[in-house]
Each structure stands twice: as C-alpha cells, then as structure tokens.
Amino acid sequence: MASIEAKILPAGETCIFVDFGEKIDMKINGCVQALKQSLSEKPFDGLRELVPTYRSLSVYFDPLSVNLQALKQRLEGELAGLSSGEIGGNSPEVRVPVFFGGEFGPDLHDVAEHTHLAEDEVVKRYCDSPLYCFMNGFTPGFPYLGGMDSSLETPRLKNPREYIPANSVAIGGAQAGAYSIASPGGWRIIGRVPYELYDANRDPAVAIQAGMWVKFYPVDMTRYREIEVQAKNGSYKIEYGRRSLAS
C-alpha cells in the first residue's frame, strides 16, 4: 500500500487534528495509535497533550512555544514513514472479570430474546468477541469497543435510563462498552465489573484504554465479591498483558 492518506487540519490556535478518515476501522485506528506512539516517544517543543479518537489524533500544543511550520513538517514526515494497519500484532490487552445477568445485568434477558440466543450463549459470544478499545470519551474512562460478534447487535433503549450504576457492561447497537462512572444512558446492561473502571486516585485511573484489546470473562458471585474486596483494599491488580496475532 502507498503512503497513508491523512489530512493535517487546524483546530484553533492550540491544536492540530491529523485525520485519517471518516470511518470506524481497525487500520485507521492503528494509524492513529502509531502516530501517537511516535510523537510520545519523541515529543516536539510545546507538545501539551495527545488525544487519540476513532479516526484522528488531536495534537494539543502551547501556542507560545510551538513552531507551527516545523510541527506541520514533522507531522508530514511521520505520516510518510507510517505503515498502515498495525493493530493485531503485539498489542496490549486487558482481561476484565464480569458477573453477567441477575440484578447486575438487567437487560441480558432482553438481549437474549432479541437475538434469539440463550443467555449463556450471549455471554459466551460477548466474551469471545475480539473487542478493541478505539477511544475513551463520553465520560471519564468510558471505552468505545468495536469488534463485537454481530449476532449480538441490539438497539439501544427507546427511553434511556436516568441512572446506570458505575462499572456496568453494555451493548449499544453494534458497539460494546462499559459505564465507567454512574450516568444516564441508553445502552443494554448485561453485567458488572467488580472494581472501578475509573478511579482518579489509582494508577492507571482508567482500566480500559484506547488502543487495548479487551477480553471480558465471566465470574460467579463468590469470585465477584472476592475481587470487590481486594479492589477496595488496594490488593487487586488489573490484569494487563499482551495479545499476539496467534491468539
């Protein structure tokens, strides 16, 4: 494939968007992550913050110390050296325990009915889906997950709930996600994670981050309560690893 097609766009006096295209696509997001990686490793003068999204990397800078021409040249150089579709190789993965159904997953039954699958089968296909976190947004730590098994697609609620408890795992149309803080929302709630997906006082504050593979796995109530206690006393370690192409 020839060089990556991307646009370098102005976004006010403190930001440039490097836009890879109007698509939810693993290759496009791979470019976003690769460019982010490269700029983090060798930051330019005045770099303030990098924000990766589905389709673009936002490069925030200090207008007092930036050299705009030099920055644009640097970005063009980076783009020329970028090879496409890097995702899938030796990428970070987070494994996340979930209690499915019951009062923690009030919509599991409806999802099963809508998809004509048994509840167990919904859980299995959800956990077996190659979920990938394209970005965090909406609320602190909310992960937008692509790659869900298409047989699980279920429309959002017609009347969104006013309150969804934090750490609820959900399906919204073709996307998967997890409510990182309590908020209103219309996604179908099928389970809950026994620890805080977002905790400002923990490092990392956000468990599921952009550019990570996500592997949900079911736990029973005994294990759920164990992890809950460990998380509260600080002894629980979030399960990070890497996913190789083969798995």
Binding site: L9, E13, F17, D19, Y60, A210
Partner: protein, 342 residues
Amino acid sequence: MKLTIQTPGALTTIQDLGRWGYQAIGMPVSGAMDAPALIRGNILLGNPDNAAALEVTMAGPSIMFGDGDGAVAITGGDLQPKLNGQPVQNWTVIAVHSGDVLTFGGICGKGFRAYVCVSGGIDVPPVMGSRSTYMKAKIGGLEGRKLQKGDELITGTAGIFTPSMSCPENLRPDYSNAPLRTVLGPQDSYIKSEGIKTFLTAEYKLSSSSDRMGSRMEGGKLIEHVKGPDIVSDAIPMGAVQIPGQGLPIVMMADRQTTGGYVKIGVVHALDVARLSQYMPGSPVKFSEISQEQGIDISRAEAEALNSLRSHVSQPAVTHERGAMNVIVDGEKFFVEWEKLS
C-alpha cells in the same frame, strides 16, 4: 487564612487553569471559564498563575475570612463586591483580616462571573494535577461539588503582594462585543459554502440554556451541512463550534466532553471563549475568521500583556505614606503594614 462560606451564591466552584493531560482517557479539562481574569488576579497577589480561586457566577457568595491576614483580588465580571458592606474595587489587591466578610451585589450588566483570587490560592487536594472542580465526575475542588453553606477552605502559602495594587485598565482583558475570532476547521468542509457565509455574518443571541459545558446560539439563519451533522467521533478542543442537526452553533466551553460526534465548523480563540463566558444570556454574538497563525499571534500578545502586568506588580507604586507587604526574615514570614505618622 481560612474562608468560611456563609451563603454559597448561585454557582461557586473552585477552579484553576484546568486538568490537562488526561483527555485521552476521557477526562474533561474544566478550569476557569475566564482564565485570563484568573491569571491576572493571581499575578496581582504574587501567586503562581495556576493557583486555585473561587469562580463566582451571577449572584455571589458571602465569605468570612479567619485565621490571620491576607489579601484577595476580584477579577472578571463586575459582580459588585463589598467588604464588610463597603464597595471595593475589582482588579485590585484588597487586604483582608480575620472577621472580614466579602459579599456581592450581583451582576450589573458588566460580566457574568467573577474570580475571588486569594493570597496563597485555595488549598484543596489536587486531583490529576488540578484543583478544578468537575461536577459531573464529582472530582476536584471541594468533594467535586459546588460550594455550600458552612464549607471551610484554607489557603496555601502566600507570595509577596502589595495592598491596593491594581491591574491597569490597558492590561485587563477585552470584554467588548466584538466578533469572536475563529479559526475555521477541522470540519469546515462538511458545511455548505453558504453555511460558512452564514456563520461569519449572522448575528446570534446567547441562549439562556448555556452552561460551563457549552454556549448555545439562538436566532440567525440555519447552517446547512453537506451530508449531515454526524461524524465518526473525534476530539473537542476548547472553543470548538459544533453545528448539530438543528443548524445553530454551540461553542464548547471549559467542562466540554473530550470527544463528540457533531461537525465542528471552527474553533474560537481562547481569549474570546473567555469573553463569551462573560456575556449575559440574550447578548448578541458574532463570529469572524482568523488564520491559525493569527490565533497564535493573539496568544503571544496576551502573554506580553501578562508580562507587563508582572513587571508592573513587581515595582509597587507604594506612596510610602502607607502600605503593606509580606517579608521574609531568616526564613520566617511576616506581614508588615506601615503608615506615615504626622
């Protein structure tokens, strides 16, 4: 110093210059809506630019000072501050003593929010490097919420300040009704050319449903999209002008979400976002186009104004008849007041 909130006012929160560095995990920046006003107050008091202050909205609080002496500087919109019932100047260092009470007459058509900057800054535990309150996630400030009756706040270590020191008028922010200077993009190409013309010529009114998250525009011709208002979500910088389906601009403010799915026609300059935050609902709003390079030049001119204020403050025009300052002797800090007798 200690500050006791006797009445909280309409919306009083603790803000500094914002929580930078965490937008990638979905954490909004927050911070002072009128940052240039906050910075000037801090410079007057000898604080770091980023020291936390109280952002006071529309109807101010009543605050009692205790535990020693210090100073405040009230900047931003004119909410008619009074110390012990007597009107005091905005943009000026005011010495305060235990038992003094600061109140506000409220808005008078010259701005919508004010900053009560205090010597030493408001000392609450920083969260992710910032003391700014972000109410939606309940973080920062005091327990992540707006202040309420009975709250007690303490201040940090005071710097050097001179009571009665003022920010000269020519170094204050511009609060005119001039058009908001806007760099077009990143998605101006998603808008019909007629829509760009509308955006740059229409006179809008600021909607009363505006808040710390966004300033909504009313009136004016509707702006048409080429394909539609929805995009695959991307980032939202401060001042981004979203054009949702109804065709009227929304300028994204301090508490904006980090990402969103509406077309962004342009981004308003930070100084003009601050100016917009001072407009009363119903105020006329216009937009004008600048280049990214012009935007950077405007930021540099602001930095020069702040530097001028810094040198003005460090050469106190004390009359030698009367004055006060913090001095450090053998590592110990003293607050000294003097007055010429005879």
